[in-house]
């Protein structure tokens, strides 16, 4: 699920329609970005300058830029199984979370390794 916010991150909460071809995370209709490779999530599209016209990609690029510039680790409200290299706070004193929806539980295996964007 795509992340939204800047100071506090959370999942967008919309119904997922597809998986990102680059990292495999589920994306919703609002955050599915058409690229040469196929449907990608905003985090995977952010490094590509030609895709930054999309507001979700632009927000994701700004987010990554601010986090790397100021060394900020946001608090994350979400429960996605897909973690990027910015999701440090998620693991502060929290137990691993279970999939929230039946789709997630049935279709996606829980991965022990971090999924880097």
């Amino acid at each position: 699920m795509a992340k939204t916010g800047l100071l506090f991150l959370r999942d967008c909460g919309s119904m997922m329609i597809n998986n990102c071809v680059a990292c495999g995370r589920p994306v919703c209709r609002n955050h599915a970005i058409d690229s040469d490779q196929g449907i990608v999530c905003p985090e995977c599209a952010a490094p590509k300058k030609n895709l930054r016209e999309e507001p979700a990609v632009r927000n994701s690029a700004h987010r990554q830029d601010y986090y790397s510039r100021y060394g900020y680790a946001p608090y994350y409200y979400g429960h996605t199984l897909f973690y990027s290299d910015q999701d440090y706070r998620t693991f502060d004193g929290k137990d691993p979370v279970q999939a929230e929806t039946p789709d997630q539980a049935a279709g996606i295996a829980f991965e022990d390794d971090y999924m880097e964007s």
């Binding site: 100071l7 506090f8 700004h62 100021y70 900020y72 502060d92």
Partner: protein, 303 residues
Amino acid sequence: MAHKESLTLDTLPPEIRDAVTNKRISGRKKLGRWLVFLKTLSEFDEQVDAQYNKVKKRSVGFGVLTFVCLFASIFALAFSEGNLVVLASCGSVVFLLFVFFMVNWLNARALKKINLENSFRETVLPFLAILSEEISPKDKITLDLNLGDPTAKQYKVSEQKLPPGRNRKLIERTYCFPACHAKIPLENGTLLLLDLVKNPVSYDRYYRSSSGKSKHKKKWKLIIDVTAGLVPVSEEFQVSEAEVERMTASAKVKLKEKKGGQLCCLREKLKFKSAKGVPDENVSPEALVEMFMKLCTMLNPAA
């Protein structure tokens, strides 16, 4: 000749026309409405700024040309021994140049009256746009923006003569201009508070040059006092006193216990200088984001 001021104002919606006339925006609206309102006002102000700079340059140009032609005409008349043709042609040229100068000068004056202070479009609007995903779409944002001239008389707080040193006279004038006060509710219930106060300071220096002539120079300094505040949701977060103490060593941080919860404030002063009028710099939205990120790093999940 209709002033450009009246033509442009008539095309604006009433709310924006009021903001331009009163030089103040105050109210509570949802994020979407604020962004539309501020963007329209920003486009109008950019047009006015561009026109004002153009017309001001023209008026200075025509003013200089008028004086040059006047002196040239005097010499021409002296050499022609008062020839009527020379007098008529020189006089009409000088008169035309003077008319162009006056028209541009009056236009510049009229545009200056509707020119707005730029911090709303260089700081507040981009800051709201950056946080647009974060801000609660249902709750209202409280904004109080002052769009007037920071060096207007009503904002002067002090005028004092400083020790002149090598100068004949040195006068310092300080102004206090509250530019912005905002309360921004986030989607998770956290409240962001922002306060921007501009303090322009002018130094008028009167001295004698090496050739004995009396001279005057004016320099400006601008100090922008930025206070960023955070009121976290008490059920979810609490401000770590250890983090506050750690940050106090390098920054002005305060933690207060209020009725609604804890209030954590970070205060910074940004300084700018200029010898050509008041510095026109503003706080960058990235600097504001950095301040709020510093405040958020002091939060811990509530026990």
